[in-house]
Assembly symmetry: C2
Homo-oligomer: 361 residues x 2
């Protein structure tokens, strides 16, 4: 066969619909300038006649030229790209963090690779490996539990990394976490200010560091407020509404004093507690006030009454993670475990004047 004949058109299926993006070379050719000139015009740099500059920009606009970041990254040191490794398969905590982070980085024209490792170290390693291949400028690591985890690496050593809602077992690493203990203190101070004297704490499993920290805050704030620690008023269980109901049943059937307030380890427990109280004919908040944790609207707003809760300010945490990462990328060193304040969101489950419906001393 004659090789000079044009080859047959490729079959429909394999004909890609993407037409190759125009390059700076195309712009230069059409605008009848050199590539260097075109580059200068497009990057608004150097001295150039206004006329040439305009012509180049016009042509670029007309043919839909868009610089190729890949090519730029190749000889800038930076790819303007970071990776985020998430280990929260449900996303309830991770999502607001990631969202705020992404928003903050978008302002800086940095794009975010999203990788879900779902607590599988092999997958995680694979993802990090891929991200290194993509020459990301930094890494963010998130998790569902705020417990210590082995640091990324050593294969990622030297890469700016921020752990957020997650804690690396490496003193040099930067970890950004909510101040769980402080959050608990907020809750107890609030209840104490309302005149409550017998505050119980119903919470999740103790293998969560958050549980241990909130517990510590509970006890320290009680004593700071001059309130007695009552036997049987600290109940650790699981993170469910059912446990909230159970725990309330236990508190009500016991021999000892009955609580006039509950501080719950999360909003699901708090909601279960609210249901159990209502169904036992105990009024919230007049007889028993409730404060939850997480400020998860799905729970706090649907509960009857709506729940006062502690907000971990996850969006702020995500935004700050972005900022710290940007700092690290530009060479600033940082490390250590840093905790950010929670805030109290008051709703009906704890509203009302202190002591109005209470026996006063």
């Amino acid at each position: 066969m004659d090789k000079t004949f044009p080859p047959a058109a490729p079959p429909e299926e394999s004909r890609t619909p993407v037409r190759a993006a125009p390059t700076i070379r195309d712009v230069a050719r059409i605008a009848e300038v050199s590539i260097g000139t075109a580059s200068k015009a497009l990057n608004a740099g150097g001295r150039l006649s206004q006329e040439t500059r305009d012509k180049v920009l016009r042509v670029a606009g007309e043919i839909g030229y868009r610089p190729n970041d890949l090519a730029q990254s190749l000889h800038r040191a930076k790819s303007r790209t970071i990776g985020i490794i998430s280990n929260d398969s449900f996303g309830r905590f991770t999502f607001p963090i990631v969202e705020a982070l992404e928003e903050r980085l978008a302002d800086e024209k940095i794009a975010v690779f999203m990788c879900n490792a779902t607590d599988d170290p092999a997958r995680e390693r694979q993802h990090v490996d891929q991200l290194l291949g993509k020459r990301v400028d930094g890494l963010v690591v998130t998790a569902r539990r705020a417990d210590k985890r082995p640091p990324i690496g050593p294969f990622a050593h030297g890469l700016p990394t921020v752990y957020v809602f997650s804690q690396a077992d490496d003193p040099d690493a930067l970890s950004l976490l909510p101040d769980d203990e402080g959050g608990a203190v907020l809750a107890i101070e609030h209840l104490a200010k309302l005149g409550r004297k017998r505050i119980a704490h119903i919470t999740g499993p103790e293998h969560f560091e958050a549980v241990r920290l909130r517990k510590a805050g509970y006890f320290s704030a009680l004593s700071a407020a001059g309130l007695a620690v009552i036997d049987g008023f600290y109940l650790s269980g699981v993170w469910s509404e059912a446990w909230g109901r159970d725990a309330v049943a236990r508190l009500l059937t016991g021999q000892g004093p009955k609580p006039d307030a509950l501080f719950c380890g999360n909003d699901q427990i708090a909601r279960g507690a609210a249901d159990a109280l209502r169904e036992s004919g105990i009024e919230v908040p007049s007889e028993v006030a409730i404060v939850g944790f997480d400020n998860w609207d799905v729970m706090t707003l649907a509960a009857r009454p709506p729940l006062t809760s502690i907000d971990m300010n996850l969006k702020a945490l995500g935004r700050e993670a972005g900022e710290r990462l940007i700092d690290m990328i530009s060479g600033k060193r940082a490390g250590g475990v840093q905790r950010r304040p929670c805030s109290l969101v008051v709703r009906e489950s704890s509203e009302g004047e202190a002591g109005t419906q209470r026996e006063l001393e």
Copy 2:
């Protein structure tokens, strides 16, 4: 000053901790071969003496060489990178989709850029623009509502794009959606099989296409099952537990017949309905059975009793979106609105033999 003096060391802050990644040039130099040879060895291609190949690979391993994807992408046609534009700021529906999509694409060594547009067209456009600069091979668009939206572009024209849980107002675009109508049919068939005759439908706002489709499924399945359409048994409101409770109150206080089953437009409504029934002394499922929609465990498992629900199989949807996008990237054309089946997940709120506790005909 003498220019030949070495410049002062940069201040601590600006000294970046990242040591430049080794290049193939480094590998070649240390292994004492040419760059071409090193490349051949690393890519397992071409004929090469086993000895040289081993030496190159050993050196590469020792110095931690990792190919630079950016450089590769530059003259491959593909970047092995896609972008996902999400418009669901809460993430409840989007998250499982994105997660499955990311997992599927990771198998193909394709990385995912995550962009949240939060329903702001300007932000969306900005993101698409950035993604085009990064030379992504494709785009996935997700939303919170499965309603029609303007297509991405025309600036992204020609770029393989899949709309998932989201529908482009463009007949050529590929949209992947759950079969809401079929889901409703599943629910009604299930209840009819249990012997229920008076099935009410409590749902969300009609401006959601999903509401209209589920409504259509409700009516068509009723008539297919030979069941009467009862006046006042279709109630459209909002997506909340409170509305579920309200709607039940309406159904119970009305003059007409009382329902023996409820099909709810989502699980929050269903949970509210379950609460209202229990508090009215009506037993679920013996007196009134309930089926929800979304199969959101936070609701279905916490409700008393646990809720039967329709699952939209979002993970499967996400995985398929990944597959279709891969197809499109490799040149396969696809388009149209494609709906994927939902499935029924039976729990206590509708369990039990048909008619055992019911008046039978």
